[in-house]
Symmetry: C2
Subunit: 333 residues, 2 copies
């Protein structure tokens, strides 16, 4: 096993968020499921955009946000994802590279435009997402840079990769390369509806050890095991997974291992401005901690710290240096 | 004179802001003049973009921000400006219409892309701007909708219109139509360097009564009269202008008329997050007040209120209802 070039490499849908404030009434009129992520086609995308308020465009994508967070801790990070060579695609590439992330996936020069997620942020800070996958549909196994994956301590994959037609093949290819190189593979379950679409396959990935580390929030976990009881779902997860972390919003998170279940509290937050990216940034902090050889509790504390930063402002990417924040909190020297 | 359809109609460069945080060192390395606006070509735009940090895209443009502010007070507002039919141009059109502004200028289908302003926000909240005019270069007199201008109580024009080759002809056409219809014409001096480029022409517009109302900040006013003394510059302005307002950051503003000079204090602001748009939103509040038949002092208080809102967050357009804010402050019933 050669020396790693990256702490974490992420593979995910490369998406630009189109973020607007909205009232709960708007979600109801538009028949949107609050807090969820719906896949939409181009016609629906236009219809939503015409109806929604003034917006800002910010690079997003769940795994991409996570990888930007990893880089924000000062770690070595890389991302693989598909944009089109259009204005929004160029913005995505600029933003992720400017955050210090290595990004070399060639853009598409024809076909659908760069993926967009219409994010409606309600006054309570909750975000409701509508994703037009566009060019992200065309992520293929050929886009997976084998050398980069083999050189990353952790390869991080999002459950959302099950939506585009060929991305799950890319996922499986990456997992095989990583394990052959003696590296770790992590998966986020992404979204309770995503779990609903691919439950059997996600359970298979966990049970067969295709993934070594699982991130889920409480509703995703309950969806995975079709359980209404949190503790029962955690017990089931403990039997299936090598290592998992379940985030629980203001209740913090639990780290689940064969040895036991350890709870880590959330950080106090004065106001939830925009919950977009909270789970993504938790994963960033946790994996950064692992890659640095820190214990699970410290890794989880780095996760809740990063989540707290991103909840406090509009947008799913950190506005300040996570490294400096962690140093101020005494989590990094 | 028929009943007005609009309280304020604005004509300006239609620009999307590409906003990033930057340290003062970055401005120095890039030889940028802090707090100023530089016109850049496409090559320089690419060079700046490559060097700058992760960004967000938000619709901007000085006069466009003002007009969005006018609509935010619940008034009837319209805007004329030129974008290309590309992703950023479509975002500009969406955002201004979603803010409640009437916008009917046809986009360009070929030629340069939609105008972008690379805005670097330093830790003190100051913004340093670099504008690639792109499609905004192609605003022509034919784009001025004569019926709309004749139906607006106030037509608001930005000094920046002197930069594109044909926009000043559009400006003059609009001013003539407005006056022929018995309406008012307002001008913002835009920027001290813009004043430096077009001093004689701006003075001529003011002295000939082509504009009835002038907005300037302190440095723009000093540049206009090449004066180092503020009071001397105000005295000169009082001799030349029918009505003018000079904004002075934390010192508030002065309303200048033939009758005298009246100072109105600024609103206390806990933290300047991003000064982008402060002057634009001041003009929005002032013109909204005038259009409502309010006295100058009340109009100025509406202006400082709107400026304070936009200074408190990233981006140059209000995040909350200015109408509701004004009602809370007792400035509107």
């Amino acid at each position: 096993m050669s020396a790693p070039r990256y702490d974490v490499l992420g593979i995910g849908n490369a998406i630009v968020d189109v973020l607007a404030r909205a009232e709960d009434d708007f979600l109801a009129q538009q028949q949107m499921h609050k807090g969820g992520m719906a896949l939409i086609d181009e016609a629906r995308a236009e219809q939503i955009y015409d109806a929604m308020g003034p917006a800002v465009e910010i690079s997003g994508g769940s795994a991409a946000n996570t990888i930007v967070g990893v880089a924000g801790f000062g770690a070595r990070a890389a991302f693989i994802g598909k944009v089109k060579d259009d204005q929004l695609g160029r913005a995505f590439i600029h933003d992720i590279r400017a955050a210090g992330v290595s990004f070399e996936t060639p853009p598409a020069f024809d076909g659908p435009s760069t993926a967009r997620c219409y994010v409606l942020v309600t006054p309570d800070g909750e975000r409701t997402m509508n994703t037009y996958l566009g060019a992200a549909q065309d992520l293929h196994p050929a886009d997976v840079d084998a050398d980069a994956v083999a050189a990353a301590k952790i390869t991080y994959l999002e459950g959302y990769l099950w939506d585009p037609p060929h991305a799950k093949e890319a996922f499986r290819k990456a997992a095989t390369i990583a394990h052959d190189a003696g590296r770790q593979v992590a998966l986020t379950l992404s979204d309770a509806f995503c779990v609903g679409r691919y439950r059997a396959e996600f359970l298979d990935l966990i049970r067969t050890g295709t993934v070594d580390l699982v991130f889920a929030n409480e509703t995703e976990l309950k969806s995975l095991y079709e359980a209404s009881d949190f503790d029962a779902a955690v017990t089931a997860l403990r039997a299936d997974a090598k290592l998992a972390v379940v985030t629980r919003s203001e209740k913090g998170c639990v780290v689940v291992t064969k040895q036991g279940v350890e709870a880590v509290p959330a950080m106090p937050i004065s106001k939830v401005v925009d919950a977009t990216g909270a789970g993504d940034l938790f994963a960033a902090g946790f994996m950064f901690g692992l890659a640095q050889g820190r214990d699970h509790r410290t890794a989880a504390r780095l996760g809740v710290m990063a989540a707290a930063e991103v909840i406090g402002h509009i947008g799913a990417r950190p506005e300040v240096s996570l490294k400096a924040l962690a140093q101020q909190s005494g989590l990094l020297s």
